[in-house]
């Protein structure tokens, strides 16, 4: 396959020249073509099969869809509402023990994490209730979940439907 040929057509040269070549043994030439062919094959193969950035997955565990278990009484004082409006605004509000909730604060993603971290360290039983507007973008939902996952708190959250009262709450922070 790979033949080794004299560098400068030694056969045509005289005997004297060949002797010189034998002594130095540097002037021969390896045919690199098959080598390059194989490397190219490998290269092509890996380029075709590799993915530049392997997707990751975010694990979600929903509660079992059993309606009887679903109704769990929680102390409203432990609840934090995270509401995402149609425009992508985030409204954070803390529940109070008497069943009402505080005025929502409009936050961005970074601030949301800071708030949740400070509340979560104060109250170890904090439960987050996530309410997303149906027309908000999925990207927003992943960003919110990602921030919650990154925050150094207990990851207790549940998804909840957004209803009429929630829209009113969101109006306070500009919808």
């Amino acid at each position: 396959m790979a033949s080794v040929e004299p560098a400068d057509g030694g056969e045509q040269r005289g005997r004297k020249k060949n002797k010189w070549q034998q002594r130095k043994r540097v002037g021969f030439h390896i045919d690199m073509t098959p080598y390059v062919d194989v490397i190219m094959l490998l290269l092509t193969f890996f380029i075709m099969t590799s993915t530049l950035n392997q997707p990751q997955v975010m694990q979600i565990n929903l509660p079992k869809g059993d309606e009887k278990i679903d109704v769990v009484k929680v102390d409203m004082g432990n609840v934090v509402f995270v509401r995402i409006s149609e425009k992508g605004n985030i409204g954070l509000s803390k529940g109070k023990s008497d069943g009402t909730e505080e005025q929502p604060v409009k936050v961005n993603l970074e601030q949301m994490r800071a708030y949740l971290e400070s509340w979560g360290t104060q109250n170890k039983d904090m439960i987050m209730i996530l309410k997303f507007h149906r027309k908000a973008k999925y990207d927003m939902m992943i960003s919110v979940l990602d921030e919650i996952n990154r925050a150094a708190i207990e990851k207790r959250y549940s998804f909840s439907k957004m209803e009429e009262p929630d829209f009113k709450v969101l109006e306070v922070i500009g919808g």
Partner: protein
């Protein structure tokens, strides 16, 4: 002259045959062991959202992929060709369902699905929610596979998809007792992060 010629190959030739043989073996090894990503619903283009915290990689086998495109269509697919044939009646079929009755499904126009505007896989539309739920159960319980409860569910949603579609899908998953699933995301890079 001829004496010189006979000696020279012994001294100088580097025989590349074994080297190439080994390379070929390695190549063969990689070709045989490569797990080709089941080209799950590759026909449908989605822009994945970014997240920075997820370290779990996408599982390679026994996956049911649910793709949500930006029109809110849900495409269901499994990586087992026998199951697809068993459940959908077409080994390369792709099940589609549009949960939101107020808007039009996007797959009716092939240009919405990918840049080329051509689908390699036939779309089998499910218009009924109950039938779609049954399909998800059948994918798991098909007699053509013994994966059963090890079937992993991944949800590949487009960034631009409405959360409503995702919520509907989550409802369906909950109702079909598929309470463990994963969202597929891209690794967040610093320049993406706001």
């Amino acid at each position: 002259m001829s004496a010189v010629k006979r000696r020279r190959p012994a001294a100088q030739s580097i025989d590349m045959t074994p080297y190439v043989d080994v390379i070929m073996l390695i190549l063969t090894f990689f070709i045989l062991t490569a797990q080709f990503k089941a080209e799950l619903a590759e026909d449908i283009q989605v822009k994945l959202p970014n997240s920075g915290n997820d370290t779990t990689k996408l599982p390679e086998r026994n996956v049911m992929t649910l793709v949500i495109n930006k029109f809110g269509d849900i495409f269901a697919d499994v990586d087992n060709i026998n199951v697809r044939e068993d459940v959908l009646g077409d080994p390369i079929g792709l099940a589609a369902f549009h949960p939101d009755s107020t808007s039009q499904p996007g797959w009716t126009n092939p240009a919405n699905l990918n840049d080329k505007g051509e689908m390699k896989r036939p779309i089998i539309a499910f218009n009924d929610r109950e039938k779609f739920k049954k399909l998800l159960i059948d994918f798991r319980l098909s007699s053509k596979s013994n994966v059963g409860k090890d079937l992993r569910i991944v949800v590949k949603g487009d960034k631009e998809a409405d959360i409503g579609a995702v919520q509907d899908l989550m409802e369906i998953l909950k109702e079909t007792k598929n309470t463990r699933f994963s969202f597929v995301t891209d690794l967040e890079t610093d320049e993406v992060k706001k």
